[in-house]
């Protein structure tokens, strides 16, 4: 551990990615080899799903790595593109009306780039209030100017909600990369890594727990597997993983557990909410399969991050203001 600490920041981060890619490579081999043997049998199906999940993990890791090596500008741009794609999918599902056209142009071509410019400039105070305060007023004003009173509140609520989740929420991920932390300069990648890992562990453990526990689902019409116990198991697992990862964070061990708990719990709840949204929009398929509207399933993938990142970011920032 001391040898690790003596390495430079750059080397530590490089090591992190080396370990990450190594683990992914091993996992891929472990999943891929049985598929060679199990061809033409019914067993191949879960393997195919695992392969798909692994592909998503690979893409995620490569994106994460690219965002690190390309620096603040690259990371901001990259997450900006993700925001754009997620918002595009959201608006497709939201069934906007013709008179929303101007508001949508504002959302896609002005609000989204500005929010990411604010991230890139590290002006975190304005970044935190830009969408909840200023855009919150601008969208309904434009909408009212369009002169269509039909379902006015509903339409504006949808657009504001979409911007908050897809732009405001997701922009906190690159913000973590750029956050200046006392005695922790240049280690933003570790924070983002911490967030992604704890959120992913919470998701996986919740999934497994719901299969083992077989509890009665809380909201059958939204998610057949979501139960309080499975959710709590996921959050606890996230806390444990957080504690295991304490050495890459600026936190003490109980703080890392708490952060992991909060981020994991928020991430899985965010996914749950997104499921409700897709059910409402009439999407029957989940994940990679193309659906009736042509939605490609990016929204489900980034949902945990969209909801967990702001909570995590502001907890960290609040903590750092205490520590400073």
């Amino acid at each position: 551990m001391n040898a690790l600490r003596s390495l430079g920041v750059e080397q530590q981060v490089a090591l992190l990615f080396l370990i990450l890619f190594g683990l992914l490579g091993l996992a891929s081999i472990a999943v891929f080899v049985p598929t060679l043997r199990a061809q033409h049998s019914e067993q191949a199906d879960p393997h195919l799903r695992q392969l798909r999940d692994l592909r998503a993990l690979w893409i995620g890791t490569v994106v994460f790595w690219l965002s690190w090596i390309s620096g603040p500008v690259g990371a901001t741009l990259l997450f900006g593109v993700f925001s754009f794609l997620a918002l595009r999918e959201f608006i497709t599902l939201a069934h906007t009306r013709r008179s929303d056209h101007r508001s949508l142009i504002l959302a896609f071509f002005i609000v989204l780039p500005l929010q990411y410019v604010l991230v890139g400039l590290r002006s975190f105070d304005l970044f935190s209030v830009f969408i909840p305060v200023y855009v919150f007023l601008a969208i309904p004003v434009l909408s009212a100017l369009a002169g269509d009173p039909e379902r006015f509140l509903e339409r504006n609520a949808k657009i504001q909600w979409g911007i908050t989740v897809c732009v405001f929420g997701l922009s906190h991920a690159p913000a973590l990369l750029l956050l200046e932390f006392p005695n922790y300069a240049g280690r933003g990648a570790f924070l983002l890594f911490f967030l992604v890992i704890v959120a992913a562990s919470a998701q996986i453990v919740q999934e497994l727990a719901s299969r083992w526990l077989r509890r009665r689902p809380v909201a059958r019409h939204i998610d057949r597997s979501f139960s309080y116990r499975a959710w709590a198991a996921g959050a606890l697992a996230a806390a444990l993983v957080g504690a295991l990862l304490v050495w890459i964070t600026p936190f003490r061990i109980w703080q890392a557990m708490l952060m992991g708990l909060v981020a994991g719990a928020c991430g899985t709840l965010g996914e749950f909410v997104m499921k409700a949204l897709k059910k409402d929009a009439g999407v029957r398929y989940w994940g990679n399969q193309s659906s009736v509207t042509g939605a490609v399933g990016l929204l489900d993938r980034v949902a945990p991050l969209c909801f967990a990142a702001p909570v995590f970011f502001h907890s960290v920032r609040w903590y750092s203001s205490l520590a400073a």
Binding site: F84, L87, T92, R98, F108, G282, V292, T293, G294
Partner: protein
């Protein structure tokens, strides 16, 4: 093909994919390099671009749109874009007695090219397509060997409603149905109604 044409083609398909996703759902037939007439519902100026971007590269070069000569040759850029990039078939909107308006289309089909046509003749925004014009029937009669593929284009009217200039990014799909044929001795009106129903049947249930 010059570099400018190639770059423009890549740019147009990139923007189309960025804004609409341009997903092609091949439900009724695979995307094969057969000679085909694709006929689709018409809701927006972007319809053609969406079908074009949804086609695989090798089909794109042999699939041609129909363009109104007076509008699309009016400026140098429009003419260049439709002639070089999209390889459009020009038709005149003014009818003259001595010329068959379908002649340029027949020439293109004779040449072995595929066509994309919008048999409603104009843009509709009522959800269901308008009655089809008879051009499709005459082409089907003249070229029985060409596959007639119905296409439903969904969501495009939300991307750019009439009167707006800036498109809003919304995912769109082009659903390709099973090829149909003109039955021997089939009445013109019956055939056109059948073709229209084939297009409407591809509409996704949840809208």
């Amino acid at each position: 093909m010059t570099i400018a044409v190639k770059v423009m083609g890549l740019l147009v398909s990139f923007v189309a994919r960025l804004v609409t996703g341009a997903q092609g759902h091949w439900k009724g037939c695979p995307p094969e390099a057969l000679q085909r007439i694709y006929f689709a519902n018409h809701q927006s100026h972007l319809d053609w671009v969406l079908i074009w971007a949804a086609l695989p590269d090798d089909l794109r070069v042999r699939t041609r749109p129909i363009a109104a000569r007076d509008y699309w040759t009016a400026s140098k850029f429009k003419h260049w874009l439709t002639r070089e990039v999209f390889n459009a078939v020009y038709v005149s909107r003014q009818r003259t007695d001595d010329q068959d308006p379908l002649e340029p289309l027949a020439d293109a089909l004779q040449n072995g090219d595929s066509l994309v046509i919008f048999p409603e003749g104009t843009r509709s925004n009522k959800g269901t397509p308008l009655p089809f014009k008879s051009g499709l029937y005459h082409l089907a009669e003249q070229f029985p060997g060409v596959q007639l593929v119905p296409v439903w284009i969904d969501n495009v009217q939300r991307v750019m409603p009439k009167g707006e200039v800036v498109p809003v990014p919304i995912l769109c799909t082009a659903t390709f149905g099973a090829p149909m044929q003109l039955q021997p001795g089939e009445d013109k009106r019956v055939f056109l109604e059948r073709a229209r129903e084939a297009v409407t049947a591809l509409r996704p249930l949840v809208t």
